[in-house]
Amino acid sequence: MHIACRSWTCLALSLALAGRPDAAPQSTLDEEEARIVHALNRLAHGPRPGDVEAVRTMGLAAWIDRQLRPEDIRDDALASRLDGIETVALSSAELMEGYAPSREARREIQKRRAELGGNPSQEDERKARRELMRKYRGDMKGLPRQVVEELQAAKVLRAVYSERQLDEVLVDFWLNHFNVFADKGAGRFLIGAYERDVIRPHAWGRFEDLLKATAESPAMLFYLDNWLSVDPEAASRLGERRNTGKRSRIGGRGLSGRRRPARERMAESDAPPPQGRGRRRGLNENYAREIMELHTLGVDGGYTQKDVTEVARCFTGWTVRGLRDSKPEFTFDGRVHDRGDKVVLGRRIEAGGKDEADRVIHMLASHPSTARFVSYKLARRFVADEPPPALVDRAAATFRSTDGDIRAVVDAIVRSAEFAAPEARAAKVKTPFELVVSAVRASGAEVTDARDLARRVAGMGMPLYLQQAPTGYKETAEAWVSTSGLLARLNFALDLAAGKVSGVRMDLDALAGAGRDPASALAARLVPAGLSESTKETLAGEDGLDSARVAGLILGSPEFQRR
């Protein structure tokens, strides 16, 4: 794991200065406008036509104030766009009931595959599956795939249309920080609720509350396997109870028997698991490691392998019940909890059931390494790939003095001199998601169906909700500017401008206006901060370009890849 916290001690303004073009874009903006464009690029998903003027009228400071209090911003237009998406408001339980194939359906699918026999091509198998799906579709509201596609589409729509732009940026940040993965079995039914009910309500609150909410979320417990983690001694303990005639509710042969573990099948299929049967018979350290390495202290934050094991012991019994009955919820199962005392980060944690891990969460959330690590990541997101150490220091101090008040830390960063400094402007390379969303916003395009846009983001290597590694997606430039990645960006720019992205309508003529120089007008609209001489020359050298081609070239230009 290489979260760049190692480099927080690195020299100051190696900043993103090193990553900036020497030849600064030629801008006709005054300083105020340049600051506004910068804020719209960092605290929002890029400017839309008219945004710069609107923020100017309001005043930049007032606009930032407002964005820091998203709960006071009405967002009706977005709400009505999301209303059209069937699954986004549903609970995990409703999704499992409506969009996971029933057991009978799955059984028949398997049977059918068996009957196909011979040498069925994948084509045939797919056809058969489609047929069966048609048969069972009556019982289902939709296919599992729909759930993820709609999640992705909704994320794109929010980023494009929400008035609470900074809220969307911050929710995306936390979702990436506390990454979970939609393609691991039941994960796809848990992740929507995770974003909506766990991340979003805590995005601006105390870090500890956010951390605790993720720790108790079925999505995280499932993704990082803590739901399977049990005290290895629990098996014999429960066995003894069974021998004394007291039947364990945990299920006949589950912990100690030789029964084939069923959990691995449910971890892969869309099927909920047979609850309580065949759980893994031991400690699972995955979550314990990641909560320290990725969520709080950082890889160099001062913990040992022994701490990982001890934290894992504290978290035994933190599990998910009801996956099988489509009612997934967090529960603490004291029967499989490790009953011994533990020592975490040098502190003794006396045996105390669920409370042990609650104490661990508190310790981690209030640890100085966490203040620094989280502040570093926020500064990296908002300011530069290698944020100025002085800024990180101040943000971390704010974190500590406010007991991890996220709003205060974000405030300290986005109102800092470092944020507003000219060196910070255009210093970040857009991720594929940021590129796609900012292109749609810049062009004022109307999105009626965001699924193709989401597919384009995926095609650039950033499938939304589908980052399988718990590290989340990288937020630094070098991760996103590979050869194949750049080709995908350029092709997207051309396709978008040429009207070849489905569900997106673009009116370039309106955007260019009726002036005598539509190309310059397009450039000014799409890249308010200004194009470089090189890009202007390129455009100038081509006579008779149509507006789609000009727009495509601008959206694919090096300037548009930055924010």
Partner: protein
């Protein structure tokens, strides 16, 4: 009309350099004279967990037939394709793999039985992840072992095509610091003609600016790579008549990997994948679902071998799958997630014609968790041997951190 307010193009510099030989190509040409030809490792990932016991069949084991009443492959019967094809008197090849038998006999194909990951997970997701990161049990590793191999052997004169994945997105196994290329096909590696003509030239001009930043660097590299590939024109290396790749993505991508090798684009590690190995129900025996997948697998490898001809001497292909399947067939005439499986190793320098790896046996007390074939060869030792003996890897510890892939643990698939 768009030109008026823009600064006029000031020189013909850009045009002049369009005619020049791309720097990568020049480097590659320079490297090709004199320097040794690069070796290539091709990894074929069978996603879904292939049933190794019905691929390289331990027909000599009594429990094999007993535990698989409906899906066992019959013991060899004089080369009949209704039964296993004998390999060594104990193991037999699934008859659907018959195109591979000549390669076995000539000694360029080996198998490693009971290969797998020490991590006990039976999750496809986790097990594939571990096999690609090369760090079983550790989820937060960010790069893949194929990329780490390239990192371990830095080559400033390398082409952009040291590492290529014939997949739409870069897989975990190739992710990392060394730039690698993912492409669905050679043909699609370029800019789409849009809005009435190719925009490549305009974009190239924009990214040509001598600006020292990561974007412009990538931009220049990208256009060089596109042009390099166009000039190398790998697709002209069409397979000869009679060399037939199976239809579909897997066959196509193997063919294109062969073309990249023949076109000398500097390919060192290549990746492709094949899906559909997760046969929980109706797996079939001599015929059936698994047979269909194996037919495609074997046909592809055999075609690749013939297509490359003597260039196969520079290439080793390894198949990987995340885990094997239960020894006992389940109630649906299929198999469930197990532990160890089998890898095939094909190519130059391979000590072929033998089943390598220690056979743990199928007796009840020999099974992993009383149900699965035990892992006796850590996949990192197999890959370590290939990297060491074929690719000349310098530091296996850097490729597989936390694992001592020492020669004493190599399964012995390569001639030393």
């Amino acid at each position: 009309m768009f030109t008026r307010r823009f600064v006029l193009k000031s020189s013909g510099l850009a045009l002049v350099s369009f005619g020049a030989v791309p720097a990568v190509l020049a480097r590659a040409l320079g490297a090709a004279k004199g320097a040794r030809r690069k070796k290539t490792l091709v990894v074929v990932f069978q996603r879904g967990a292939c049933d190794g016991l019905n691929t390289v069949i331990p027909y000599g084991e009594e429990p094999y037939r007993r535990l698989r009443p409906t899906i066992a492959i019959p013991a060899p019967r004089g080369g009949s394709r209704e039964a296993a094809l004998d390999l060594d008197g104990f193991f037999g090849l699934h008859p659907a793999l018959h195109p591979l038998l000549p390669l076995w006999k000539e000694g360029s194909l080996a198998a490693v039985q009971a290969v797998g990951s020490p991590d006990p997970t039976r999750s496809h997701f986790d097990a594939q992840d571990f096999m690609e990161s090369g760090t079983p049990g550790r989820k937060s590793t960010e790069d893949g072992w194929l990329n780490r191999h390239l990192q371990d052997d830095p080559d400033p004169g390398a082409t952009p095509f040291r590492g290529v994945s014939m997949t739409p997105a870069l897989p975990r196994i190739l992710a990392g610091r060394v730039p690698a290329v993912a492409m669905a096909s050679i043909r699609e590696f370029g800019l789409r003609p849009a809005a009435g003509g190719a925009a490549a030239r305009e974009f190239e001009e924009m990214y040509r600016e001598p600006v020292r930043d990561v974007l412009h660097g990538a931009g220049r590299g990208t256009f060089e790579a596109v042009r390099f590939l166009r000039q190398a024109d790998p697709t002209r290396y069409r397979p000869a008549a009679g060399v037939e790749y199976p239809r579909g993505r897997y066959g196509d991508s193997l063919m294109q990997i062969a073309q990249l090798v023949k076109a000398d684009v500097g390919l060192e590690v290549a990746f492709t994948e094949t899906g559909g190995w997760d046969h929980h129900a109706g797996e079939g025996g001599v015929q059936g679902q698994l047979a269909g997948r194996l037919r495609e697998l074997g046909q592809g490898l055999a075609a690749f071998h013939r297509h490359l001809g003597d260039r196969m001497g520079d290439v080793v292909v390894v198949t990987l799958t995340e885990f094997g399947r239960t020894v006992r067939e389940n109630g649906n005439r299929g198999t469930d997630h197990g532990h160890a499986s089998v890898s095939l190793v094909l190519g130059g320098g391979v000590r072929g014609g033998r089943v390598a790896g220690r056979w743990p046996g199928l007796a009840a007390d020999r099974l992993h968790e009383a149900r699965d074939l035990a892992v006796t060869t850590d996949f990192r030792d197999l890959l370590g041997e290939v990297l060491d003996r074929h690719m000349g890897a310098r530091d296996l510890g850097a490729v597989f951190p936390g694992h001592a892939a020492t020669p004493s643990r190599f399964p012995g698939v390569m001639r030393s």
